[in-house]
Symmetry: C2
Subunit: 249 residues, 2 copies
């Protein structure tokens, strides 16, 4: 089976590396950025091109959301399967006469950061059973977590990730504002943060909840509100309200 | 120097263990719960009692916030230093004629969970310089992060922890509600969550922010609002508003 990866960014690099490490041969890595492709090609020993796209059975497009449609048009081989790797686009965004699919790895990728690929969940959507089987076989060589997912479901995956990652990171930013204001080094909180995350590997977050809101400690809640203002105060009130609703306090 | 730890819960256990592992001798562990004390005493080879409190130079009270005052009254030795380990109480809550102090380890403790004590920040407040020196010396044998902290400052430490830990955990609960509703296993999100936290060990959370709000991707923001309701919708709006304010979008 001939497989080509299109792109030269973080996702393309890690996707190519995950394939190579799991002995899934790649025919080519194709893209615009010669310098990046050269680096990836050197490290992973895969041929690259910025000009001639090889014939393949499977093309995996690893480019940013707003470039997927344009890039998908360069594939002209009708008897091929094309996958994009975006969490928020439908497979129908792919603009060609080939079979369309989605091959979505749920992770945040940076080139400089090593990743444990076997942990990365892959979500797959195809037009037919045979293509599904093909993509499942490939993803299962890389990861132990592979599941089917419609575009509808991917919307919720993305939404879950916004809560569990983007919003969590923003809480860290607001927390750091508070500790900075008192000249307390934010890294002092890292062991506590690590432990908070460690816990939910073992128990349901709902059972792991601690803090003044779930204890319904009105004295502390009022005291804290006096220390806060603007967006942080809004977050404080909204989160406590949501906690108290969840635990029916 | 004679040191006694009072309490038999999670904090008392880990405090005693941190002392023993760092070769700081303990004279006694004192408390009410004989069964728990017996277990700690067995594991750590420290004498225990439920009846006769030994004379000591330093007593460290490791009991829950609402018991600190009552417990502090059993210490009658005037020429001693007494510390509580609460993040939210002033040292003046200690009700005796001894010298008062706060010795606050910033971590969440469970007996069943091993901890790396050298990472745990200790915050110290005393009445005089000599006691400060004593507590700094002890804490510095356990941990590399020791700093002075008034009660005023401890309030902000606690508030920072509420944002970085209690609220973060609640976001995990709300995220899990969303993934559960679509029958997506929540553990699929753990690699992404781990990576989110890993990142802020290396870069400022403000620089690490990703997601639709900071990209100002109005299409996705509107789509997501249609998928949410009640408290989760409120959180969604409040967090996005706060993100957009922080980045002046």
């Amino acid at each position: 089976m001939q497989i080509v990866i299109i792109g030269s960014g973080n996702v393309a690099y890690h996707m190519a590396k995950a394939f190579v490490l799991n002995n899934i041969p790649l025919t080519q890595i194709f893209g615009r950025n010669e310098k990046e492709l050269n680096k990836i090609s050197d490290e992973l020993k895969i041929p690259f091109s910025t000009e001639k796209l090889e014939d393949a059975d499977l093309y995996i497009i690893c480019v940013s959301d707003n470039a997927v449609e344009t890039v998908s048009k360069i594939i002209t081989k009708k008897d091929s399967l094309v996958a994009h790797t975006s969490g928020s686009l439908p497979k129908e965004i792919l603009a060609g006469e080939y079979r369309k699919s989605s091959f979505y790895p749920l992770q945040t990728f940076s080139k400089s950061k090593e990743l444990e690929y076997s942990n990365i969940p892959f979500f797959i959507e195809t037009e037919n059973e045979e293509d599904k089987k093909t993509l499942f076989e490939i993803a299962s060589k890389i990861s132990k977590n592979v599941m089917e997912s419609t575009h509808e479901k991917r919307k919720y995956i993305h939404l879950t990730a916004v809560f569990a990652c983007n919003f969590v990171n923003h809480l860290f930013s607001r927390a750091k504002e508070i500790s900075d204001s008192q000249e307390i080094p934010f890294n002092y909180f890292l062991p506590l943060i690590d432990e908070t995350v460690q816990k939910i590997h073992e128990i349901d977050p709902k059972s792991a909840q601690t803090g003044p809101a779930v204890r319904n400690d009105k004295r502390i809640l009022e005291l804290h509100e006096q220390l806060l203002k603007d967006e942080s105060l809004e977050i404080y009130k909204t989160m406590n309200h949501s906690i108290q609703k969840m635990y029916e306090l």
